[in-house]
């Protein structure tokens, strides 16, 4: 189907089912129950799942296939956000032109940065991208204030022209982002017994765009072009000796992944029309690296898993506080209960990054293939040693190495 083989079609269908049914799947606990805090099925978080999924898919096209580790990808996300917000300010509140502009501008930006950075490889490439991203970040904060509005961040105002739309709605407020009239923030709530499921317009737009990007990523992975990118990762010298110039391929991969990042940035601005420079900081670039590695670099589904994993735990872990922990461990004797809570305290709430850092280190040390490799190993355990070779082939996503 759609030019994919059977395995990939199955994968795409599974991912599509999971994303489209996410409001149900992420809301397994009734709203009144004590476990409701583990529900992730609210629009804001679901939007972030898919948006960061897109970001990580794009990053993976560069890092997973060619092995070039960029530490400056957040710059493209930021550029995408800024261009989308400018579109909302100048043209109209429709998200389509905003997203298109975000992709185009970040693509151009990626051509520029990629052309320069890709002249070096290895650690030098990482540092060059880092330097470019930090430069954009610093400039966005200082000199480019007329474009970026500095520390406040770029926001919509009532005075914006919006030539195709209106500057203000009838009741004098700023209009909301929409897709040909369908508001991004509109949410349909469905109450089934004790459960409440939320279907958000914005989420479904992001989800469909993510599925399209995911499909494109599969096509890139399976194409001769993807094969070239893998060749660059495994042995660039040998590739040049066979008469192929690796530079155009890496540049293309860099620009594609930059456009993915810009698309994610544009969607982020479409869901919540503001853009700030902190989206471009190198810690934000580090985050997408974490997502991709955690999920499994070079695999198709890995980055999406990693993005979902990190965003879920970022939201849920940081909400757990000492009182909740006391509730969980109430069955223990008092002294032991306090002890356990004290031990766990640094890892929850604001300390969530500590947990993430430890987890990330463990993955890099023991599971270089990320969560996907973990899943494959477990699957292999269940199937027994006999089908070892078979299962290697049968796994839906082969690491690029």
């Amino acid at each position: 189907m759609l030019g994919l083989n059977k395995k990939d079609t199955t994968l795409l269908i599974i991912v599509a089912a999971l994303t489209l049914l996410a409001p149900f799947i992420l809301n397994p606990f009734p709203t009144e129950s004590g476990l409701a805090q583990f529900n992730a099925g609210y629009p804001d978080l679901m939007q972030r799942f898919v948006i960061f999924g897109i970001f990580a898919i794009g990053f993976n096209i560069l890092f997973g296939l060619t092995g070039y580790l960029s530490f400056g990808h957040a710059a493209f996300l930021g550029v995408g956000s800024y261009s989308a917000v400018w579109m909302f300010k100048l043209l109209s509140m429709n998200v389509i032109p905003a997203i298109i502009l975000a992709v185009i501008i970040s693509g151009l930006f990626a051509v520029l940065i990629g052309y320069v950075s890709l002249r070096r490889s290895g650690i030098y490439f990482s540092i060059l991208t880092l330097a470019f991203a930090q430069m954009s970040f610093n400039l966005a904060y200082s000199v480019l204030t007329p474009i970026t509005n500095g520390e406040t961040g770029l926001q919509l105002t009532l005075e914006d022209p919006r030539v195709l739309g209106q500057s203000a709605t009838a009741d004098g407020s700023i209009p909301v982002t929409n897709l040909f009239g369908a508001e991004m923030r509109s949410t349909y709530e469905m109450a089934v017994g004790p459960w409440a499921f939320q279907f958000n317009m914005g989420y479904y737009l992001c989800a469909i765009i993510m599925l399209v990007s995911f499909y494109l990523a599969i096509r890139i992975f399976r194409s001769p072009f993807g094969m070239m990118l893998r060749a660059i990762k495994s042995n660039q010298t040998r590739m040049s000796y066979t008469g192929l110039n690796p530079r155009p391929y890496t540049l293309a991969a860099f620009v594609i992944s930059g456009m993915y990042a810009g698309l994610a940035g544009g969607l982020m601005a479409s869901m919540d029309p503001l853009a700030g420079a902190e989206r471009m900081q190198w810690t934000a670039s580090g985050e997408v690296v974490l997502m991709t590695i955690l999920g499994g670099a070079g695999t198709l589904i890995g980055p999406v898993l990693g993005a979902g994993f990190i965003k879920y735990f970022e939201n849920i872990f940081s909400k757990i506080n000492d009182n909740i922990l006391h509730g969980w461990f109430a069955f223990m004797p008092d002294g032991l209960e306090d002890f356990v809570v004290t031990i766990l305290h640094p890892f929850i709430g604001k300390g969530w990054h500590l947990t993430l850092g430890i987890l990330f280190m463990l993955v890099v040390i023991f599971l270089p293939g990320g969560l996907v490799e973990g899943g494959q190993r477990i699957a292999r355990l269940f199937r027994g040693k006999k089908s070892d070779d078979k299962s290697d082939e049968a796994t839906q996503s082969t690491p690029a190495e």
Binding site: G67, L69, V116, R119, R120, S121, G122, I123, Y124, S126, I127, L128, L130, A131, F132, Q134, M135, N138, L139, Y141, S142, V143, L144, W282, T283, G286, V289, I293, P346, K350, G351, H353, L354, L356, G357, I358, F360, M361, V364, I365, P368
Partner: protein
């Protein structure tokens, strides 16, 4: 002229910090071939050694006496721990000098942290690609900085310098310019002098001791040194500890200049990497020279005359220099030919 001297002086203290961190990074890269993204975290831990010692010395303990407030309620009188131990004079002096004293306290701590890091984690990454080394040390940096955050909170903690070094020194009057044109805080001078001493000590150690000679030989050709029956791994581990100690010392002395907070290491790390790359991967003199050079360039770029000519240049000058260097002379200013040149 006076403006130029002032900018050079201003650049020196930041340049010293860059040079010290970059020196440690280069030592690690040159000996072990590892790209250590956790080096900034070591700098930060050094600064927090100073914070810890100051906090410990000034820990308020009850003296047993009770004082009446203006409203008639009774509050126990407290006294800093060291004053109750050593009396107000000696204790007070010790507290005042807590930051320099923290140097002694931080060296063993940093060396131990360095050993544990190398033996426990980095040892297993020699054979893995550079990207993996970057990633695992990046994770380690996050972990270290979050541990510090869990203990000390997210806000910067002011750590004063000794009273003798507060205030500024009128450098201009000494050189014959008008008074109050070139004034320079004493502590920054101390920092620069300290950095110069540490850098000198590291170079002397490598140049004039047998141990240093073996390490240099190992940097040049690890395999041959190993074949000569020298346990080079052990010496490289010690060098890692030394590099950690250099970063820690840079952090201790930096605490009074900028109140330490948990992410100061990351802020310095990015710049220090740029410094290492500009100086040349694996070249120790290059790292030091590039550190001072970039520190001074940065302070020149923040002059008003230059800023009005090229707005925003002060924010990006370092990165701009790095990009130009990487593209025109990838081995850096003083890098050896053929070291990480692709």
């Amino acid at each position: 002229m006076d403006a130029i001297i002032l900018q050079i002086l201003n650049g020196l203290d930041k340049g010293s910090a860059y040079a010290l961190i970059a020196l440690g990074l280069t030592l690690i890269f040159g000996t072990l071939g590892v790209v250590n993204f956790a080096h900034g975290a070591l700098f930060m831990i050094g600064a927090f050694c100073a914070v810890t010692l100051t906090k410990f010395m000034t820990w308020e303990v009850a003296t047993g006496e009770v004082q009446k407030t203006a409203w008639g309620s009774e509050v126990p009188v407290t006294k800093p721990l060291f004053e109750s131990w050593f009396g107000p004079e000696v204790g007070g002096a010790l507290i005042d000098w807590s930051v320099p004293l923290a140097i002694l306290f931080s060296i063993p701590i940093m060396i131990i942290i360095g050993f544990v890091m190398e033996r426990g984690l980095i040892k297993h990454f020699y054979k893995r690609p550079h990207a993996d080394q970057i990633l695992v040390t990046f994770g380690l940096a996050i972990v270290l900085q979050e541990i510090i955050k869990a203990f000390y909170g997210a806000n910067p903690i002011p750590t004063p310098a000794p009273a003798a070094f507060k205030g500024s020194f009128d450098f201009g009057a000494m050189l014959g310019f008008d008074p109050n044109v070139i004034i320079y805080p004493y502590w920054r001078m101390v920092y620069f002098a300290f950095a110069a001493v540490v850098i000198g000590a590291v170079f002397a150690f490598l140049q004039f001791t047998t141990f240093g000679m073996v390490v240099r030989a190992g940097m040049a050709d690890r395999e041959t040194v190993g074949l000569l029956g020298i346990n080079i791994d052990k010496r490289f581990t010690i060098m890692f500890g030394l590099a950690a100690a250099v970063a820690g010392l840079a952090g201790v002395m930096y605490a009074p200049i900028n109140s330490p907070n948990y992410h100061m290491g990351m802020d310095f790390l990015v710049l220090s990497f740029v410094v290492v790359v500009v100086g040349g991967m694996g070249s120790l003199p290059g790292a030091v020279a590039a550190g001072f050079l970039l520190g001074i360039l940065e302070s020149f770029a923040s002059m008003n005359q230059i800023k009005s000519l090229l707005p925003g240049i002060d924010q990006i000058i370092i990165y701009l220099v790095a990009i130009i260097i990487l593209l025109t002379r990838p081995r850096g200013l003083m890098g050896k030919k053929g070291v990480m040149e692709d």
